[in-house]
């Protein structure tokens, strides 16, 4: 029995740029998978690959396969993949401010998804829309449905975007940094809503974020990407307790904690290399304290950890059980 969403050894290229290499991920119903990494590490591209959106941005899967519910996406035509998007996989975009069409009323934008994917008529679609809006705790749903996007706050817009993603009754929601553009107080509400959906409806959620704090609160498993490769993939408990990859360790040190001494918050020196200038060997070695000659020459393979996780590092810490 394979997982709902399974990426095995997926490599992705756009033109001549090879942007993702050998990504292995699995996500099942009722699970939340956090996809973390700095900007440019390939998080959003991984999401695009999972939705079969790559051909539309000129990208292609060069190796490995993406399976959704057992079906290899590459065997489906664009029409088949369109049937997955919205119906089986809902997508929540990064910036709710610009994710809604400014010249359409809110309700109509949600209606159209269930009319398209569930074949509902106008009245049934609107009933479903209002029902979804109520579930997402949008007050006065009927009035909001008649409003224009510019009349809503950011948090409210993000709920609308989530309602759109849910309207086709999907099994998987992919949320690309759903809270980055929102106030901290609203962030917590949106995350609660997403977590509630997983709990109540048995949805699978792929949460793309660069906020390790959010990951610690919400996720079941975490995949850490660095420069287009998987660095570490583990359950959330051990990854924070005993990170195996030095990059993961560095990320966990970037989270501010209560009682920290002034000035002890870490950053990671350097920046993610661009796809045109990836270093040989382990791509993290220029920023890694543990790097040696092996790291500079040889690409570390993904190896299994005792707790069922994966790590790609020549000097991985065993990961205390």
């Amino acid at each position: 029995m394979s997982a709902l969403l399974q990426l095995s050894g997926v490599s992705v290229a756009i033109g001549k740029a090879h942007l993702l290499e050998g990504i292995d991920l699995a996500l099942d119903r009722g699970q939340i998978l956090g996809l973390v990494g700095e900007s440019g590490s390939g998080k959003s591209l991984t999401a695009m690959a999972a939705m079969g959106l790559l051909p539309l941005i000129g990208g292609r899967v060069t190796a490995g396969e993406v399976r959704f519910d057992g079906t290899d996406l590459s065997t489906l035509g664009e029409a088949g993949r369109r049937h997955l998007r919205g119906r089986r996989i809902g997508f929540v975009t990064q910036n709710p401010m610009t994710a809604l069409d400014p010249v359409q009323r809110i309700g109509a934008q949600i209606d159209v998804v269930s009319r398209l994917h569930l074949g509902l008529d106008k009245a049934a679609a609107r009933a479903r829309t209002l029902d979804l809006m109520a579930q997402l705790r949008i007050p006065e749903a009927a009035a909001v449905a008649e409003a224009w996007p510019h009349q809503l706050s950011g948090g409210m817009k993000q709920r609308i975007v989530i309602a759109m993603a849910l309207a086709g009754d999907p099994d998987l929601i992919i949320a690309d940094e759903p809270t980055t553009a929102l106030d901290v107080t609203v962030q917590a509400q949106i995350l609660q809503i997403l977590a509630g959906l997983v709990r109540d409806r048995g949805l699978a959620l792929m949460l793309i974020t660069h906020d390790m704090g959010v990951v610690a609160q919400l996720c079941d498993r975490v995949a850490v990407l660095y420069a287009g490769r998987l660095a570490e993939e583990r359950a959330v408990g051990p990854i924070f307790a005993a990170p195996a990859h030095p990059y993961t360790r560095a990320l966990t040190l970037c989270i501010p904690r209560e009682g920290m001494a002034r000035g002890s918050l870490h950053g990671i020196p350097g920046a993610v290399p661009s796809a045109a200038a990836y270093p040989a060997g382990c791509r993290f070695h220029p920023r890694c304290a543990r790097a040696d000659a092996t790291c500079r020459a040889t690409v570390p393979a993904l190896s299994a950890l005792p707790d069922g996780g994966l790590v790609a590092c020549h000097h991985a810490e065993p990961g205390a059980p």
Partner: protein, 279 residues
Amino acid sequence: MRAVLRAFRRPMGAIAGGWLLAMIFVAVFAAWLTPYDYDIQALKEAYQPPSPAHWLGTDEFGRDLLTRLFHGARTSLSVSSIAIGISVLCGMVLGAAAGWFGGRFDRAVTVVVDLTWSFPEILIALILVAIIGPGTTGTMAAIGVAYLAQFTRLTRAQIMMLKGETFIEAARSLGAGNAHILFRHLLPNALAPVLVSAMLATGDAIILEATLGFFGLGAQPPTPSWGAMMSAGSALVFKAPWIILFPGLAVAITVVAINLFGDALIAELDIRARMRRAA
């Protein structure tokens, strides 16, 4: 549509919009508003200055100038707005296709459009009237083609800009197809700026129509047009100045009114202004 109504609530918009409505009214009901015919000559009555019987005076053939001005409004307004309508329609189709498909088709359209863009509209219109022949149909076609470049460019730029918006990405990732994205998202969003620019272009088109009429290339006698009336009056400017004055004023005030109303409409359609009011 609601923005048009709101534009009327602005003082300038109300004055300008009122004038335009009045012009449309006299154009539609020209035949019933005065006791005279626009084409019956009464040479005994020629060259009369404005009087209670002839509010704007009479022309060199003794025809009532007010009657001719009303009928001239019919010609000027219908020719210029139909021409712009055709131009907007063709320009949007062409521009949307160029912006949507991109590639070679886009480059071909852009080259042709930029080529016509580099000539003044009047030159293009004159050449086309020379080819098609004078008259209302020729004038409409000439004006339509002269403004085609403007709407094609505008629509193309809008479509290309909107294509990269997050809500298009969102629609796609929820399973929307090409037709849905083009007709439900891209074109409705591109519509407002194109319509405002069409409104402003109608003002220019009235001037262009009057210019062609002035050169005798527009509506042919005895059909009155504002340009042809001014042309007739220009020879008599010292003998009977009212013959050129009133059609000239009609053109000037109408064009200014269109621009002012266009400004009010821009202010109403401006999303930023809308957000400021909401805040």
